[in-house]
Subunit: 586 residues, 2 copies
Amino acid sequence: MAQVNPTVGDLDGNCRTIADYARRAHDAGAHLAVFPELAVTGYPVEDLALRNSFVSASVKAVAALAERLADDGLGELPVAVGYLSRRAGVGERYGQPAGAPQNAFALLYRGRVEVTSAKHHLPNYGVFDEFRHFVPGETLPVVRIHGADVAFAVCEDLWQGGGPVAAARRARAGLLVTVNASPYERDKDNVRLELCQRRAREIGAVVGYVNMSGGQDELIFDGDSLIVDAEGELFARAPKFEEDLFVTDLALPDARERAGEDPTSEDRGESVDGVRVVRHTLSAEPVAAYAPEPPVLTPRADPASDVGEVYRALVVGVRDYARKNGFGSAAVALSGGIDSAVTTTVAVDALGADRVHALLLPSKYSSEHSLTDAEDLAKRQGISARTVAIAPIVAAFEESMALDGLAAENLQARVRGTLLMGLSNQEGHLVLAPGNKSELATGYSTLYGDSVGGFAPIKDCWKSLVWELARWRNAQAERAGAPAPIPENSISKAPSAELRPGQVDTDSLPDYDLLDGLLDAYIGTDKGMRELTTAGYDPELVQRVIRMVDRAEYKRRQYPPGPKISSRNFGRDRRLPITNRWTPTA
Amino acid sequence: MAQVNPTVGDLDGNCRTIADYARRAHDAGAHLAVFPELAVTGYPVEDLALRNSFVSASVKAVAALAERLADDGLGELPVAVGYLSRRAGVGERYGQPAGAPQNAFALLYRGRVEVTSAKHHLPNYGVFDEFRHFVPGETLPVVRIHGADVAFAVCEDLWQGGGPVAAARRARAGLLVTVNASPYERDKDNVRLELCQRRAREIGAVVGYVNMSGGQDELIFDGDSLIVDAEGELFARAPKFEEDLFVTDLALPDARERAGEDPTSEDRGESVDGVRVVRHTLSAEPVAAYAPEPPVLTPRADPASDVGEVYRALVVGVRDYARKNGFGSAAVALSGGIDSAVTTTVAVDALGADRVHALLLPSKYSSEHSLTDAEDLAKRQGISARTVAIAPIVAAFEESMALDGLAAENLQARVRGTLLMGLSNQEGHLVLAPGNKSELATGYSTLYGDSVGGFAPIKDCWKSLVWELARWRNAQAERAGAPAPIPENSISKAPSAELRPGQVDTDSLPDYDLLDGLLDAYIGTDKGMRELTTAGYDPELVQRVIRMVDRAEYKRRQYPPGPKISSRNFGRDRRLPITNRWTPTA
């Protein structure tokens, strides 16, 4: 199982990676190599799926890959990959995705694309839009490989009860392999493990789950590929977040022993519940017995630390967004506050201290500690830091246009944003926006001010989680005997935008502990007004906060992308109307 | 038929509008009043559909509306409305929209919600995401009203061949009424008319089509409600874009005369093709014969002018976006160029000259005519115009940070953006961004510079269409004997961003005639590399332009919303990955 990290659209690069890993699998003696969903194209392809020439390029790439593997002497190794294909023989149909694209599966063998199928269950919730992009597959391939019957399905097909899962059971497969592109979510790995365990017991077969790794735009794939045996016991597991290959030995039932059983509807080629089993034979004879490798069970880095895992996800997100978009470096405006401190620290861990450039942009309202805390952080982490006082620029604006109140406050944030974008354009850095999820939820930010940037590393982290991340990262440094990267003062002081004298966040927002609890109940678990007040929140506060969230959609729509760490983010997985006059009253 | 203009979330206001129009329909002697899809909640509701408390509010609102109509003495008038509901008796199911919401239909009668059903075919392409938001309905109500059998369906149900349309035929309905929220697209009105004509002939029934009117965020509903008779002849038609009520008389077959026919599967309550006919009787006796009103056929304003229709759509878009979001005025940066000239003119037509505020922001690279053309336009249209030279502010930035090349060019655009946002924050105007679709497609704009704003009126108009709109608007003024609102020089001069000496757009882009043709073939009709080169475009140019389009997604994601006038816009109806390494080669 190879949990590779493809790049969307880089068909050549992705196929090169697959060939490299197939070579390593072959050299380790593997009888089957498995790669993730859409490994050939990268995931998600979005509306590229509707572009005929892109689908054709994917179909050609997978055929060329099969030949290349054979040319490389790997033809006898069956290689399972996800790719983008199309359903043949369907004309244009009103409401059907143009060109009938499919989220497809191919088994490559002896220089040919030997077996193909496509994802049957298409997810269309959260970050997934697959009804828009794909038409469903209607077959479950069951392939005899060295005498064992191996069924192959794609991602969502494992999550839904009917269809492919039921067909695999009725077809009496000895192994069900699913290829996946399943994004990271806090606590999701146990959900996946439990799902595989349940399915293994239902089907009575070993279940192998190979997932993508790495960051792609807003999605972070956490790898964590695993195998559970037919009793549902965890048998093998790959590390999280990293590209990895693991090779392990499975004892699978000899399919010939099932020959005497009654033929099922599957054996007669009938479609049940929209899925038809199609059998193939690559090699009917089992391999001779040999001493198995021990199961691979990569130890969890720090299984107790949910916060540490979030931190890793953010680092992977920044690393891959920069790399895949051709940025070698990042720029951040360092304010001395907690958000920019954590954003910068993540960037340094992702890219290295020599590739992170800080701007310190004090105004006349900046407190003494803002500058000293920012300088302290830059020194601790060894990053370049330049200081530009914004007062002369703000004064030049104010000479041209009289601004006061909120307009004057926002002006300062926009001067900072313009300086940061100037540095980025001049030197080629990826600008990182420091906004957190509490800010995004409530609209507590300045459009084109602190919100500028190409990527927003902590946009899916509540403010309280940002503090936890800072503490976790400092503690981790301490455990390693290194100095804390984040100044204690940045963690402990009261948060403030410092856009007017003496301003603190609690002037406009409730205390973050209260606010984040309420926001998480409202957005994270979709509780309504009544449930929230029953849970003890003040009705007036609930109404005020819901209003803030609903009215800030116009700002969120223009916010840079950022890594998702929860199933209830903003963006496609929670898209509100911009105009919305509704205020819940009960 | 009342083609009202609801506001998303304003349940009280929308129900008040419905009650007002129902009163007018009643007073005009109507026997049935019909309102659009989701008229109670507004359309689109986006992820509000997944919010339990919002669905409950909609269900309550429609019940209260029924009572209110009866209290107002309108209880005997059956009122058909679209609203948001939920399917009862379905538990949570993996992958199913939370709470099983439905895009529902209700017939209100004698103080009660007498009949309900829900949209069966859910569109999930272009701007529609309905698999994400709704579960499909499974019934077609056929209601006997004054002795005629009237079937009711929702929007997409008319576009798809099977399901409700076929059920209406088999149920031998005399009239099929569909309630719609169908957005404007260039040339779509004939498509709708032809669809209604085809369906009327298929079903052998009169078809009534009521559509929403007005702008809601990015969607512009163009009204254009219509009725075709059972032979497919256009019988009645409402005006475009405006709220309107029309009352007309139909001679419908007496359902009792069909009593002797053989019972069909529908009559036995069986489900065919996923749809079950449910019959209701409000009033079995036909009304006594009376002299019918003549058919209503609103003459098209200017049926030959496609460009004029686009212009009206933009005006409605700006008017309703401002109104529904609580803005009484707009601000624009007037450069003397064609884009800001058309943007401003649309704003003046939408809001009135006294509510549009122009900023003239010349730099040291601005040519003489930039300022004079901008001043000329402001004078012609009588709008307030303030001039702020940006040089001192640009100088203040450059004293603090050395910028050259593209970084220095972008700085000027960002200083302008910051001034415009400052004015907006200070005085409360909606900022309009002047970007056109050619710019958005190729990324020829400055993030946080000319792209700032709350709404972008011409973002779905190719540059060549922007010129056509200007010429059309001037010609329209001429026809009315008024002076041309747009200076001829703004139309005829070579377009330039004026961010460096002597710069013109063609330094970076092909000629717009060529570019727009290519972009429209690529984006508008999804032609691939091969088709484009076969059509005569230079392969190198095609590759360069496709690359520009694909690489500019990060900018488009942060662009303000704007009215859609085509089915191939950017945004949800064409969403590319941000990271995309694919370049077509053949």
